[in-house]
Amino acid sequence: MGGRMSEELDPRGHVLVPEHRVLSKEEGEEVLRRYRVKPHQLPLIKSSDPVARAIGAKPGDIVEIKRESFTAGRALAYRYVVEG
C-alpha cells in the first residue's frame, strides 16, 4: 500500500464519505462526559484510516462524524482514534 495514493486522492470529496472533524481537547472531554464513557468505549477508528489521515487525526484524538441519516436526517457520531 503506497502512501502516494492517499496523498493524491482525498477521500473527503467523495459523496459516500461523511464529514469528519477532529475535536479539540475540550470538545473531546465534553463528549466523554456527556456519554459517561472512557475513550475505549467509543467506536474506534484507525489512524491509518484514509479519512483519519486526510484530516490529520492522531491516536488519542476524538473524531466527530456528521452523517446523513435515513431516520433523523442528520446524525452525529464520535470515534476514538487508535494506532494502526
Binding site: 456519554y35 464513557v37 446524525a75 452525529l76 464520535y78
Partner: protein
C-alpha cells in the same frame, strides 16, 4: 446484565502422563464391568472407586452416595503409545519444522533471535510463529547439527512416513521429546506444554457418572457408548501387551498396535474422515466424546445454551373463536399437572386451605405445600386436613393452574418476539390448547396438526413482568413498522362485509341474536326501516354499536376500484367509508377496516387513540359479530363460483389464439432477422422478452374478460375483493387461463436438445412448446401443460426450502452477534462492556412500536385533532 467479574482469558492445555496418573484413583485393567452377581469388578470399568450412580451405594474414594459423589477419574496404561487424533496436524507441523536428529527448530540462530524478538510482548505472538514454522519447513539441512533432513509425509488419518520408512508413534514421541522448550513458542506452542504429550502413553478414564449404565425393566444392563469404547480399548491393549510379552511376530504386534490406535482415535471422535466409524453390535454408530459436545443436540447447544424446563406443556392446537384473543384454552388434564406457587396471605387463607384439602385428586386443588422453614409436603401422601389447618401467612402452596393465570405461549420457529407471548388461562375440556384466530398470523399457526408450548412463570415478579412486557394486547402494534399486526382475518372480514352491505336488514330477533353472540348488551338504536309494522335494523347500525361514540373517520375501502372520478359519498359500490360520531354512515367494512397486516384504518385508529384496553374489547366483539353474521346470513363457496358463460369462454379462447398468432409472427420476424433488438439485448433475448410480454398480457386480458362475469354477488369474489382470502389473480387462473410457467424467470427451455419434451420439434419457440398454459384450473390442464406447471411449481418449493435454511442460519448468527446490545437510559445503544454502538437509538431515538407506521408524528392527524372535526 453487566457481569460482576470479567473473564479475561480461558486456557486450554494438555494433560501430561504424570498428571493423568496423579488424577487417577485406579488403573483400569479388566475389560469387564460386572461379575455374575452384578457387582462391579475391581479395577474394571465400573470400579466402585470411580464413583457411583445407583442409589444406595457409596463411593470407595470419597464415601459419598450418588448425590454427593462427583465421580473420580481412572486411567489405562497403554502397552504402546498412540497418537491423539485431534493433534495430528500439529504433530505433522512439528515433525516438518524440527531436526530429525537433534530436535532443534530448523532455523538459523539469527533468524531465531529475530523472530523471538518480534514475538516479544505481542498479543498475537502466534502469528509470528506461523512465519517461523513456514521458514523452518523449507529447510533441507539442520543449521544446528548439519543433519540432512528427510521429507516427512502425513497419510490420513494417522500414519506418518519419512522417506520410505514408517514413523511409529514411539518414534514420533522420541522426536517430540527432543524438541527444546525454548523453541516451543516459535513453533506456536505454549512453553508450559510438552509436545510429546500429544502422543498418549496413558489414557484418562472418565468417572462412571459421565457414562452411567441403564438398567432396563427386564433387568438387563445396558452400558453407555463410552464404556463400550473403553472396553474395546482395554481388550486390545491387553492383547497387545500379551503378544509383546510372548514375543509374537513383529507383524502381529504392528496390527494390534494399529487397532489400538483406531480404538483410541474413535474414542475421541467417531466422525474422523477416512476412518470407518466404530459401531455398536447392533450396527448403530457409537456416540463418543466428540459427538457429545458437537452440534445442535450436543453439550453446548443442547444443554448449556438451552435446556429442558419444568412447568411447561406441549399439545396440539385448535381454534376457538369464542376465546378472547389474549386467552389460551388449557385442557383440564394439563391444568391438573401444572402448578403455580401461591403465597398464603391473610386474604386468601381460607381459599388456600380449601385447595390443600382438595389435594391432588380433585381439580382445582394443590400438589405441594411449602412451610416457612422450607419443608415440602407432598399432598399425595400428607394428611391434608392437618396441613390445611396448619396453613398460615408465610406458607406457600403449589396450586393447580386455573382461569386467569398468566402463562407464556410459544410456537416454533421462534422467529420474532411475538412468537412467545403472555396469555391468560382458560381451563376447558378436551385435549388440545385452544387459541383465538387473531393471534394465528403472529405465531404463524394453523390447525393441520401444529403443536405449541406453554410455560408457567412461577414468581410474582415473573408473572408481572410477563404481563407488562409480553401480554398479547401489548403486541398489537408491530415493532417492525408501527402498525397493527393483530387484527381480523379471513371470515372476520367476509362476515363484516356481509353485515355492513346496504342490502342487509335484520328484524329485532336477528339483530339481538347477533349482538348477543358478539358479547355485547343488545341495546338497539332506533330501527332504520319500519315496513308493514315490522322494525328492521341495518347491519351498519349493528356494527356501529361496537364503535366509540366520538369516532370520526373517512377512508376508502379495499373494494374501491380507483375510479378516475371518485363519487365519494355517492359511491354506489359502498367503497367510500364514512364514520361520524361512532356511526357507520356509508361504506362497507372490509380489509381496510381491521385486517391484520393490511391498511386497517379503523383498527389502527382504535389502537392508537382509544388505547389497548378499548381496542381489545372492540376486536373481541367485532370478530365474534362478524362470524355470527356470516353464519346467520350464510356464506359458502364452491367450484361453480368460477363458472363463466360460454360466450366469455369463447372470447378468452379467441384472445389466446390471437396471442399465439402474435408469438408466431414474432418468431417469423426473428427468423427473417427483421426483429428490432431492444437496447442492451441480443436478438434472441429481445424475442424472449417480447414473447413473454405478449403472453403475460393475454393472461391479464383473459382475466379481464372473466372478471366481467365475476361480480360481488359471487362468494369467491367477495373474499378476493374484500381482502379476506385469495386474490383476483387466483380466481382468473381458475376461471380463465393459468398463463405462462417459468423457471428462473424464463420460459421453460431445458430438457432435450432445443426442446423441453419430445412432443415438440427441436428449436420450437412457440407458446405451447415453452410452457404456456392456456387452460384454466377449472377446465383442467392438458398433459403437457400439467408437466410444465409441475416444473414451475417445483421451483417454488425448492426456493422456499433453500430460503428457510439460509435465513435460519443467518438469523442464528445475527442473534449471537447482537444479543448483548441494549438501549441505555441516555438513549445510546451499547454492548455488555458499555461500548457505544449507536449514539442515539436508530439515530432518531424513536421506538418504532410507538410511531405511527414508522413516522414519529403524523402531522395531518395532529392538525385534524386540534382544529376538530373528523370528516374532511
Amino acid at each position: 446484565m453487566r457481569p460482576q467479574r470479567v473473564i479475561e482469558s480461558i486456557r486450554f492445555s494438555l494433560l501430561s502422563p504424570d498428571e493423568i496418573r496423579k488424577m487417577s484413583v485406579t488403573s483400569v485393567v479388566t475389560a469387564d464391568t460386572y461379575d455374575e452377581d452384578g457387582f462391579p469388578i475391581e479395577r474394571g470399568l465400573m470400579d466402585r472407586r470411580l464413583g457411583v450412580v445407583e442409589p444406595g451405594l457409596t463411593c470407595r474414594t470419597c464415601g459419598g452416595g450418588p448425590k454427593d459423589c462427583p465421580g473420580h477419574f481412572g486411567h489405562i496404561e497403554l502397552a504402546r503409545p498412540v497418537i491423539h487424533v485431534n493433534y495430528v496436524e500439529t504433530i505433522f507441523e512439528l515433525l516438518q519444522s524440527t531436526c530429525r536428529k537433534c530436535g532443534r527448530i530448523l532455523l538459523k540462530e539469527e533468524e531465531r533471535e529475530r523472530l523471538l524478538q518480534e514475538m516479544e510482548g505481542k498479543e498475537e505472538w502466534w502469528k509470528v510463529s506461523e512465519k517461523a514454522v513456514q521458514t523452518a519447513k523449507g529447510r533441507q539441512e539442520c543449521p544446528h547439527c548439519g543433519e540432512e533432513q528427510e521429507e516427512v509425509k502425513f497419510e490420513k488419518p494417522f500414519t506418518f512416513m519419512e522417506g520410505k520408512g514408517r514413523l511409529t508413534p514411539s518414534d514420533i514421541r522420541t522426536r517430540l521429546e527432543r524438541i527444546r522448550t525454548e523453541d516451543l513458542r516459535l513453533l506456536g506452542l505454549d512453553p508450559s506444554v510438552r509436545p510429546e504429550w500429544m502422543v498418549l502413553q496413558v489414557l484418562l478414564v472418565p468417572p462412571v457418572t459421565v457414562r452411567p449404565s441403564i438398567t432396563l425393566e427386564t433387568g438387563v444392563r445396558s452400558e453407555d457408548d463410552l464404556t463400550h469404547k473403553l472396553v474395546d480399548i482395554i481388550r486390545i491393549n491387553q492383547r497387545l501387551a500379551e503378544n509383546m510379552e510372548a514375543g509374537a511376530p513383529h507383524l502381529i504386534v504392528e496390527d494390534l498396535w494399529e487397532l489400538l490406535q483406531y480404538h483410541v482415535a474413535t474414542y475421541f471422535s467417531n466422525e474422523i474422515s477416512g476412518v470407518p466409524p466404530a459401531r455398536h453390535r447392533s450396527g448403530r454408530v457409537l456416540r463418543t466424546l466428540g459427538q457429545r459436545l458437537k452440534g445442535k443436540e450436543g453439550r453446548f447447544r443442547g444443554n448449556l445454551s438451552g435446556k429442558r424446563v419444568d412447568f411447561s406443556a406441549r399439545a396440539v392446537i385448535s381454534p376457538d373463536p369464542c376465546l378472547k384473543f389474549d386467552e389460551v384454552g388449557v385442557p383440564e388434564y394439563v391444568a391438573r399437572v401444572l402448578t403455580v406457587r401461591s403465597r398464603v396471605t391473610s386474604f386468601n387463607l381460607e381459599e388456600m386451605r380449601e385447595l390443600v384439602r382438595r389435594g391432588t385428586e380433585q381439580y382445582p386443588g394443590a400438589q405441594w405445600v411449602i412451610s416457612p422453614d422450607g419443608k415440602r409436603y407432598d399432598l399425595r401422601y400428607a394428611d391434608r386436613e392437618e396441613l390445611a389447618q396448619k396453613l398460615e401467612p408465610g406458607y406457600v402452596v403449589e396450586r393447580n393452574l386455573r382461569d386467569g393465570d398468566i402463562v407464556l405461549f410459544n410456537r416454533q420457529p421462534s422467529l420474532h418476539r411475538m412468537s412467545i407471548m403472555a396469555h391468560r388461562v382458560r381451563v376447558m375440556p378436551g385435549h388440545t390448547f385452544r387459541l383465538n384466530l387473531c393471534v394465528c398470523p403472529l405465531y404463524n399457526a394453523d390447525f393441520d396438526g401444529d403443536e405449541m408450548n406453554l410455560h408457567v412463570p412461577q414468581s410474582e415478579e415473573a408473572q408481572v413482568e410477563a404481563m407488562i412486557l409480553m401480554a398479547v394486547q401489548n403486541q398489537i402494534i408491530s415493532p417492525r413498522f408501527g402498525g397493527p399486526i393483530i387484527g381480523g382475518i379471513q371470515d372476520h372480514i367476509t362476515g363484516a362485509y356481509l353485515l355492513t352491505r346496504k342490502e342487509t336488514l335484520l328484524d329485532r330477533e336477528k339483530a339481538c341474536q347477533l349482538l348477543m353472540q358478539a358479547g355485547v348488551e343488545p341495546v338497539l338504536p332506533e330501527p332504520a326501516v319500519v315496513r308493514e309494522g315490522v322494525e328492521y335494523w341495518t347491519g351498519k347500525q349493528l356494527f356501529s354499536v361496537l364503535l366509540p361514540k366520538d369516532l370520526n373517520l373517512t377512508y376508502r375501502a379495499k373494494i374501491c376500484e380507483g375510479c378516475s372520478r371518485c363519487k365519494e359519498e355517492e359511491c354506489e359500490k359502498e367503497a367510500y367509508v364514512v364514520i361520524e360520531n361512532g356511526e357507520l354512515k356509508r361504506g362497507v367494512i372490509d380489509a381496510h377496516a381491521y385486517k391484520a397486516l393490511d391498511k386497517c384504518e379503523l383498527w389502527d385508529r382504535m389502537v392508537k387513540e382509544y388505547g389497548v384496553e378499548r381496542a381489545s374489547e372492540f376486536l373481541n366483539h367485532v370478530t365474534r359479530l362478524s362470524i355470527a353474521a356470516a353464519e346467520m346470513l350464510g356464506f359458502t363457496t364452491s367450484i361453480d363460483d368460477e363458472d363463466i358463460p360460454r360466450i366469455a369462454k369463447e372470447r378468452i379462447e379467441e384472445k389466446i389464439e390471437d396471442a399465439k398468432k402474435k408469438v408466431r409472427e414474432l418468431i417469423e420476424a426473428y427468423n427473417r432477422e427483421e426483429l428490432e433488438p431492444l437496447p442492451g439485448r441480443s436478438l434472441r433475448e429481445t424475442l424472449e422478452m417480447r414473447i413473454m410480454e405478449a403472453l403475460a398480457e393475454v393472461r391479464d386480458r383473459a382475466g379481464q374478460v372473466a372478471e366481467k362475469h365475476l361480480t360481488l354477488s359471487n362468494p369467491a369474489v367477495i373474499m378476493a375483493r374484500t381482502g379476506a382470502r385469495g386474490s383476483m389473480l387466483n380466481l382468473t387462473q381458475m376461471a380463465a387461463c393459468v398463463g405462462q410457467q417459468s423457471v428462473r424467470g424464463e420460459r421453460l427451455n431445458r430438457g432435450y436438445v432445443g426442446r423441453v419434451l419430445i412432443h415438440f420439434k427441436s428449436e420450437d419457440l412457440g407458446a405451447e412448446a415453452r410452457g404456456f398454459v392456456s387452460s384454466s384450473y377449472k377446465d383442467g390442464l392438458k398433459p403437457l401443460e400439467f408437466f410444465f406447471h409441475a416444473a414451475g411449481g417445483r421451483e417454488g418449493l425448492v426456493d422456499t426450502a433453500v430460503r428457510t435454511a439460509q435465513s435460519g442460519y443467518m438469523q442464528r448468527r445475527l442473534i449471537n452477534a447482537l444479543q448483548d446490545l441494549h438501549v441505555e437510559y441516555d438513549g445510546t445503544v451499547r454492548d455488555d462492556r458499555g461500548v457505544i454502538v449507536q449514539f442515539l437509538y436508530g439515530e432518531d431515538g424513536a421506538d418504532p412500536m410507538r410511531t405511527d407506521n414508522g413516522k414519529a408524528v403524523r402531522v395531518d392527524r395532529l392538525v385534524e385533532k386540534i382544529i376538530g372535526g373528523g370528516a374532511k
